[in-house]
Point group: C2
């Protein structure tokens, strides 16, 4: 019952210390964490085997068991991830803006940690270390709330990280795992505004919805991507085929994969495109005209236009022009990533102005909506909200600013 409050209190105190540390001190601590995980592989793998055994006994699906499993190779990846975060530039301390007012007040806006971050996630134990290293790098303390199925693994990983921190400038209380994984305690955590500065849910749509609907603590929301590609009349054939194949098949299970392709009815290569997709095993669901023209295209239902398949299934539709494409995207899109393939610059401008989404593409795959691909180094997630951060979120997304005002005795007269 009091685990939550006790840990939250410790984190809040630790956050004060963390905010004062230099980049070198934080990086040195991350290196200690990397080394400790390397050294304690046996302990971590044994704890994970406990979770795996319990998971098998409970009949978890093979997909879920796969996410839960740690291996030596996955531990190598985790260690590599920690070192990569250590190598990134530290956003904290950056002077974001600086100006002087007519009364002589000099105002400096500087980047600082958010404070205490609540991370809510599902079965993958690698998120435990990934989230902790991103938070510590940016001077944030972190409350980790993983799933009960990964509790042994998470406890082992957090114990190893805490042990590693003992010889560093970061207090070990900067990372706390919520071992009580009950729904009630999670709900209390989501409303712990006096202690948590932000909640970051990482996982499926259900998890994210639950956090958004129940939280009073501000949420950094990541979410569904029902992404579209519009192929305009002037689109180059091979470019269009390559981009659609890439956006659908390079990794179908992720949020920046394409789910619906809108094809200008005058584009002469629709048949070739659909055949290319069909030949690669994509299940096609089309509007009435496309279904009538191509035996391997099934007729789509209204539901299809709304669906984020996350699978090798693609909805396809003929549209009269760029405006009909825009209308369709406004109606069914989730404001994640939307692309236009065209040689018509006026249509690019219109599409870019009229479509409201985190990322818009001209002649490129939607798969680039990603922190690494944007050049941010690490990725916290892809924000589908409009406040604070939109699109791929790097380290800057888990910082805030404060304004420092330097005076010489100024008082306000109006």
């Amino acid at each position: 019952m009091n685990e939550l409050l006790e840990k939250a209190e410790r984190l809040k105190t630790a956050a004060h210390t963390l905010a004062m540390l230099s980049t070198e001190e934080k990086n040195a601590a991350l290196e200690q964490i990397a080394q400790a995980i390397d050294r304690e592989r046996a302990v971590i793998l044994a704890a994970n085997e406990n979770d795996m055994a319990a998971g098998r006994a409970q009949g978890l699906s093979p997909a879920l068991l796969d996410r839960l499993q740690l291996t030596n190779e996955r531990i190598d990846q985790i260690i590599g991830g920690v070192r990569q975060v250590a190598s990134l530039p530290d956003p904290v301390g950056e002077i974001v803006a600086e100006w002087t007012r007519p009364n002589g007040l000099r105002i400096q806006t500087v980047r600082v940690p958010l404070g205490v971050i609540g991370m809510v996630y599902e079965a993958r134990p690698n998120v435990t270390v990934d989230a902790a290293s991103l938070c510590l790098k940016t001077g944030n303390a972190v409350l980790l709330r993983g799933s009960s199925s990964a509790l042994h693994s998470n406890k082992a990983l957090v114990a190893v990280m805490k042990e590693a921190l003992r010889t560093t400038a970061i207090p070990e209380t900067a990372i706390e795992l919520l071992e009580d994984t009950s729904r009630e305690t999670a709900q209390r955590m989501f409303r712990l505004n006096d202690y948590l500065d932000v909640l970051i849910p990482r996982g499926g749509a259900g998890l994210i919805r639950s956090v958004v609907e129940n939280a009073t603590v501000p949420v950094l929301e990541t979410g569904v991507g029902n992404c579209h590609i519009f192929i305009d009349e002037s689109a180059e054939r091979s470019m269009a085929v390559d981009i659609v194949v890439n956006a659908k098949l390079q990794r179908p299970s992720v949020c920046n994969a394409v789910e619906t392709v809108l094809i200008h009815e005058q584009w002469p290569h629709a048949g070739e495109l659909l055949e290319a997709l069909h030949a690669r095993g994509v299940e096609l669901r089309g509007d009435r005209r496309l279904a009538a023209m191509h035996p391997f295209v099934n007729e789509a239902t209204e539901e299809d236009w709304h669906t984020e398949y996350l699978a090798p299934i693609l909805a396809v539709k003929l549209v009269a022009d760029v405006d009909e494409a825009i209308e369709h995207i406004r109606r069914y899109g989730t404001k994640h990533s939307e692309a236009i393939i065209t040689e018509n610059e006026a249509h690019v401008r219109r599409f870019f102005q009229a479509v409201d989404a985190a990322v818009l593409y001209h002649n490129a795959s939607t798969r680039f909506t990603d922190g690494e691909q944007f050049g941010y180094g690490a990725e916290i997630g892809i924000s589908t909200q409009k406040l604070h951060a939109r699109g791929p979120m790097g380290l800057v997304a888990i910082t805030t600013t404060k304004s420092l005002v330097y005076g010489t005795g100024q008082i306000r007269t109006v």
Copy 2:
């Protein structure tokens, strides 16, 4: 029952049009609004008199009636406000960042409207026009939810604004007033994530808390300011007195007024400061030592350190050093505005690094935490949250960004 959804739907459609408009089109529409309010004074004042009569009959307090009342002079101020917003630079369209990736993708992050803003406010009818003009200037549609006590005034103002928009590029459906002011409908509005991009509560602490606790739509939170001034050992006497008197008395009812002064126990001028405050009618509540030393200082209770008086009352406390001051502020502060008066640069650095607040001051009054004083022109409010915007919020705070990616056929291979 369906008023909320119908208006939300209209606003969403209007937002698409608004996002495409030029700065000139938006400014011209604001000028039409200013002129229409000027022209329709009699109608507006008559509607306001309805609210005033009902308010008097219901026994509203004089303070509340004063907030509710419109006069010719207040209408002048409203019109002036609209024209001032029109004259400000338009943040929409600004290119925030632009870079090229090794694969040739050119990424541009541009500033765009948020979409539809839900404004929740109390009795002052001037907020109706103020909020509408800020939203329209930044290309946002706005759902206005004022209080029932101002309903006639708000209806008249919105009708005049809508009428004015008919001859402009902004659709009149870009401003909608929620006439159903029931609590139930407000609660539904706070959870209208499919239509509203953000909620902005403007009013007292109770209103803000109700929005934060019940909303699933993201909130731009403004809030309480329990602000401190720490007077260090080396503080100049007259500077310290001037700043404290200004921060407490220049306008005691606002969130950036000082509520507690922490005095270094070796500062030689504490007595003079307290006498100066007492002479100006400030009620002083001090720790045991100060209360024992000065007959006009009453002993403070624990409650006093927590209280945002918003009145000519001040809590005062002796502290041993800058670290005790920092500790006190961490415990009782609300992360709004905190000041240090000192000639010791090392203490400034320590205070600025250790205190977590939106705005920190060295040798200046806390009263400068304000959009106009920061040079932002208009002010949406003062954010006490850490996400999205912190401290004074100008027009930029009601915008977001989107990333435009220009390719030449790039696909993702890893």
